[in-house]
């Protein structure tokens, strides 16, 4: 066996790929995961971070709704450090049809979702940010999930079970033997080297980019890229998820996450060649604020941190409306479909159902490899969620944890024990907004394949707070320069990082956001001389 041969290659470092790599590795397969850029750079890191109860799909798609509620309950167990059990409300506004609430409620129950019709006054007491004009409210077990953390934990566990992970490695072509895919060709964006890797099965888990991967393999998946735009607000306006109780539409979900909340989304078909460069337009920003303020009026006057957009990997049906396309899981066996052996695509689905998607894909891989080992991912906790709650862990290591230590424990769960915190030097803060310490950053650089500031942000939240990296990014760049022994690279990386932060800031560049931008741009130009 050569060192470039595996049982299974997984293409895509989003949550689906990471989950599939974990599942495959836990079933004893030799796994290679390749990702074009970094973990969670596609739709995984560009959504609400909503842990669906399934209620949103209850009326239109009972199967998806039921998948969601089952996976929701599983993730609360296996990924407790990534999940915030907030619950959710589906509210009816005066302009909405209250009859829909009845239908919605019954559909939830039949999908197995524990829904509860509330007195609007009681709902307002529980979640004071809700529009006080509501005429109806249903409580459901929605939650909030940190997709970066979830993806990183799956990736880490896959590696702990022996999987290899190649980041910044793009698949440029497939190696075929007759009617069988036997390997991939790659190009590494950092080393600029090409590579060849072999496996009996290749799993295409590349999200919307899976369309292109399938084309490279010589088959076609009819996908529809649907852009969704979202806004991040600088405060956690609501503690409970707020949804609109009507047919799914624009900007009708407000999800609290960590210190912020996120409103979204829109749904617009875009061409494939725009998937890498989606931006948010002023019209979309206006629409999101206007509709969002109907859910929670405070949003109209709350500072916006940034705007961002993701592309959903929907699989086409006969409809032109991207909202009516199934959001269900699509697992394609290209051997049965097109006669192409050794190639599987797993797509569609949702963040909430990633584990089920991974299980379905892994079941198919195992069937083809005649491996007879059952899936254990629904019961085995992820690193960080193993053992006791992070609060108990935190208490064990610290007599009197600081805000920063509590924040780190919140991010890493039980994994917080791996952070060096022995000296006051380790504890000094790099990112004041998100309370990220020197120790946590150095530990991420060491353990979690951090190549630059953007990678660091996805693993530690550095630069995600109100200042959007204005101060912490330079400090973190200093640590990276030290760790990688190259300041030119760190300086270029800093420039890319600030450019990326700005792309999410200028669409909402007014008021305090513009003040912050003016200050930041001044510092970089005149003080730091970058």
């Amino acid at each position: 066996m050569k060192n470039n041969e595996y049982d299974v290659i997984i293409v895509g470092g989003g949550i689906t790929g990471a989950g599939t790599a974990r599942d495959c590795a836990m079933r004893g397969l030799r796994v290679l995961l390749v990702e074009r850029y970094d973990i969670a750079t596609g739709a995984t890191g560009r959504n609400h971070g909503l842990l669906h109860s399934g209620a949103r799909y209850a009326v239109t798609d009972q199967e998806s709704a039921n998948e969601c509620i089952r996976e929701n309950m599983i993730l609360r167990r296996i990924a407790s450090h990534c999940v915030d059990e907030t619950d959710g409300f589906f509210i009816t506004l005066p302009e909405d049809d209250l009859n829909y609430q009845t239908k919605f409620f019954e559909s939830c129950l039949s999908a197995g979702i524990h829904a509860e019709i509330m007195d609007p006054k009681e709902a307002l007491r529980m979640e004071p940010s809700i529009n006080p004009d509501i005429i109806g409210a249903v409580k459901v077990p929605d939650g909030s999930v940190d997709p970066f953390r979830l993806c990183a934990a799956n990736m880490l566990d896959a590696k702990l079970h022996g999987a290899q992970v190649l980041l910044y490695s793009e698949v440029t072509g497939f190696i075929k033997d007759g009617d069988r895919i036997v390997g991939i060709k790659t190009f590494n964006h950092q080393t600029h080297k090409t590579g060849e890797y072999y496996a009996n099965i290749t799993v295409n888990a590349a999200g919307i980019w899976g369309h292109h991967i399938a084309e490279l393999a010589g088959v076609n998946i009819d996908m529809v890229p649907a852009k969704g735009a979202l806004l991040i607000f600088a405060h956690r306006v609501n503690g409970i998820v707020i949804n609109r109780c009507r047919k799914p539409s624009n900007a009708d979900i407000l999800v609290p996450g960590d210190t912020v909340c996120i409103i979204g989304t829109t749904s617009t078909k875009i061409p494939f060649d725009k998937c890498d460069t989606v931006t948010v337009t002023p019209d979309e920003v206006n629409l999101l604020i206007e509709e969002g303020a109907k859910l929670a009026p405070a949003l109209a006057s709350t500072r916006i941190l940034r705007a961002f957009a993701g592309v959903r990997p929907l699989v086409a049906a006969d409809s032109n409306d991207s909202r009516n396309i199934s959001r269900g899981i699509v697992c394609l066996d290209h051997e049965k479909r097109e006669g192409l052996k050794g190639f599987i695509s797993i797509t569609g689905g949702k963040l909430t159902t990633y584990r089920l998607m991974a299980e379905m894909a892994t079941d198919l891989v195992c069937e083809k490899l005649s491996v007879n080992k059952p899936c254990e991912t629904a019961n085995a906790p992820l690193p960080g969620s193993d053992g006791k709650s992070f609060r108990e862990v935190a208490q064990k290591i610290w007599d009197n944890p600081t805000t920063g230590q509590k924040a780190a424990a919140g991010r890493l769960g039980t994994g917080v024990t791996n952070i060096p915190a022995a000296s006051s030097l380790d504890q000094s803060l790099i990112c004041e907004c998100e309370q990220v310490s020197v120790g946590e950053i150095n530990s991420a650089i060491e353990r979690w394949d951090v190549n630059g500031l953007r990678d660091l942000r996805r693993r530690t939240r550095v630069g995600m707070g109100p200042c959007q990296g204005e101060l912490c990014s330079c400090r973190a760049a200093g640590l990276l320069a030290k760790a990688h022994g190259c300041t030119d690279r760190a300086r270029a990386d800093l420039q890319r990082f600030m450019t990326e932060r700005w792309k999410g800031m200028y669409p909402i560049g007014w008021g305090d956001a513009l003040r912050e931008a003016e200050y930041t741009q001044w510092i970089y130009k005149h003080v730091l001389g970058v």
Binding site: P282, V438, C474, G509, L514, A517, H526, V527, G529
Partner: protein, 377 residues
Amino acid sequence: MRFDTVIIGGGLAGLTAGISLQEAGRKVAIVSAGQNAMHFFSGNFEDAGPVRDRVAALFAAAGVRTNATDGLQLMAMGKFKNVSLTLEDVTVFPDEHIAEKVLLVNFAGYHDFFGTFIAETLENLGISCRIRFVRLAEMESLRTSPSEMRSVNIARMMDEYWEKVVTDIRVLHKDEDLILLPQVFGLKDAAVLDKIRKALPARVAFVGTMPPSVPGIRTQMLLKHRFEVLGGTFLMGDEVTSAALHEGIISSITTRNLDTVRLFADHFIIATGGFFSKGLVSTPTQVYEPLIGLDMDYSEDRNAWYNEEFFESQPYMNFGVKTDAELHPFKDGEPIRNMYAIGSILGNTRKEDFGTAAGLAIRTAFAAADAIKGGNV
């Protein structure tokens, strides 16, 4: 209360105008909301060339020493920048070959001084650079709160303990001909800078850190002190609440702290700064000047406010209040004949006449003060 001139805004522009007028024997009040752009000043008076000697003299009288020399400033992230007038904290080098061997000294755990970046720049120029850290027992109290290792907090300690740092550096020093230190010295008293230079066995240069800017804060304090010594009235932590404007002349203003007591003056200067200082305010649909509602020079199309590239010049930075040749701002299309708009509130609208940044602040301050002294209302 009656003054010759009331200045709204106590930053570099407002103070320069205020001192210039007080020196000419005018009675001036400055209304200042508090912090200003001096708190993140790089020490380089960019674009101040045409008034270099005049500003150097004005500052010298205030106890602010400057380098009126053309040369290079070593920036915080290791790049060089052309300068012609700087605060004395900034060492001006004739060229990039700043030394043969450099000892760069930082405080352990201080991440706002970018030694690694500076060292690599120097190494690329063939200058060897050794980075060493000092760790004072006295500074451990700063570390009990992890966010306290910031420039001004360290500078407050250094006012007391700079000699201990010097002792440590003397031990670290070998044969280097230049010692680089962060700009965290002499917050209270700039004389410390000279004392450090004298006490060390090699040339010493101070390099910028992340804001707050210690040289900037000290300069602001000295200028404010100078203004008050000259007899000026500095209303700290106050904000203008209304202005009485009639037929193109402002007769008085009110402030939050003075309540019903009106400030009357022959002349008014508005120096409230740009967006960050809230001299300009933006909403999704407009940019406005919040105190008087002065006419603006800006684009109404929000799409035209930004350049997608963060490091390119941004169109919104060009926005500012509209002024005539004498810096009189407009209200509803009519100039306010006894008011002058100076500093960042102008954005880049008067860049061709007055430059940008610190140069803009100083040059428009002189222009307004001169016009007032000339008596042409």
